[in-house]
Amino acid sequence: MAQTASSIASVTKDAWTSERLVKQFEDKNAPLGRLESVKGTMIGTQAQVPIYNNRSGAYTSVGAAGGSLNPAQAQQVSQATYTLVYSWFQTELETSALAQAGGGMQSLIAAKDLEIEGGLENVKHQMTRQLVTNGDGIVAATGTSGGASTTVPLTAAASEGTRYGYSALKRGWLFPGATVDVGTTADTDALVTASTISAVSMSTTAPTITIGSAIDATAGTHFVYIPNPNSTTAANPELNGLRQIAATSGALGGLNPSTAGQEFWQAAVRDTSTTVFSPRSGAQPDASGPPERCERGRPRGVDLVQAADELLLAAAEPGPLHRRRWPRCRERRRRQVERLEHQGVRRRA
């Protein structure tokens, strides 16, 4: 009987295509990285932001004959306060992993390095999710199950807007092995507590997660959360998100634009239309005047323009006035665009 590749398989050598693990996800966590580059404020109990709300209204104009003046008023000030959120991530290594998977001749990567580097990236990934969402602990919104099932529908891509579901799968916020609660905003584990996701479906039209318990979810009522071992009803405290910060309503830092006297505390514009993108005239932040100086080739006031995973270069392009008065900015901007395009960042028309 002839020797074959199959019969000698037990002593043949196999080869790895790479000496490095090939990540199947984006691990740069760019929005958080951008924030990390900013100088921070160290706090004791809380960070207090001194805010100059509004001018005084003590103005009077009179003719040559003079006259009385309106009474003096105080300049209006207030403060926003922020407290820290501690993001934790646990790791555990069995002794055998340290002994038998130490890298080098033993394994492609040391088990210890994998857990340490993975843990750091994973905690930053969670924080990035928080930063780009709403600070409310919601990881995804469910659809309507139509009866108890272990397969839980999420908001379809076409229906995303205020709520999101498909994107949570696509961005790796929910994945097999992750543990989740499903519940309402009032009771975050009302339907299920700490159930492990066994499978996901990344369908744009019918995205789902499969969990260990059958639940009957309702769109608009139920949401997916990270389990909170410190409360039976509340979500984990999370970072304030850009959706929350760049909003025309809602409290932030203890101030609320719906409170009389705090109307100033809102974003210049928040477009929530689902049909036409409508940046209104005058809605441009810092629209009070031309940029004072060129910063990294961009008009002052426009530091981070980001949609999906690409830079909106056109949106960050200096306007006509800027181009005319700051020709060096245009040249810097052109070089920046060329550099980004060279790096593979797409340009939108």
């Binding site: 924030l35 932001v49 991530f89 790791t91 304030n240 980001q306």
Partner: protein, 73 residues
């Protein structure tokens, strides 16, 4: 950032809140403890445990220089 979202952010309008004493970046529990080891023996077990902690918060010191669209199709 979600596919539906677009933010125009002035970083100067944001504030990054951190803790002092070296907690302005992720730190391992074993490092905080001062054991100078990458992980800590889990008493009564054959495994080693550790945890990373990253205290951070982001806030705004001015909101009216920010803009967003959150339902793009």
């Amino acid at each position: 950032v979600l596919d539906t979202d677009w933010f125009q952010i002035d970083l100067k309008a944001l504030v990054k809140i951190t803790a002092g004493n070296g907690f302005d970046k992720p730190r391992w529990a074993s490092d905080i403890q001062g054991s100078s080891q990458a992980s800590i023996w889990k008493q009564g077990n054959t495994s080693f445990v550790d945890a990373v902690v990253y205290p951070l918060q982001v806030g705004a010191q001015r909101r009216n220089t920010l803009a967003a669209a959150t339902a793009l199709q």
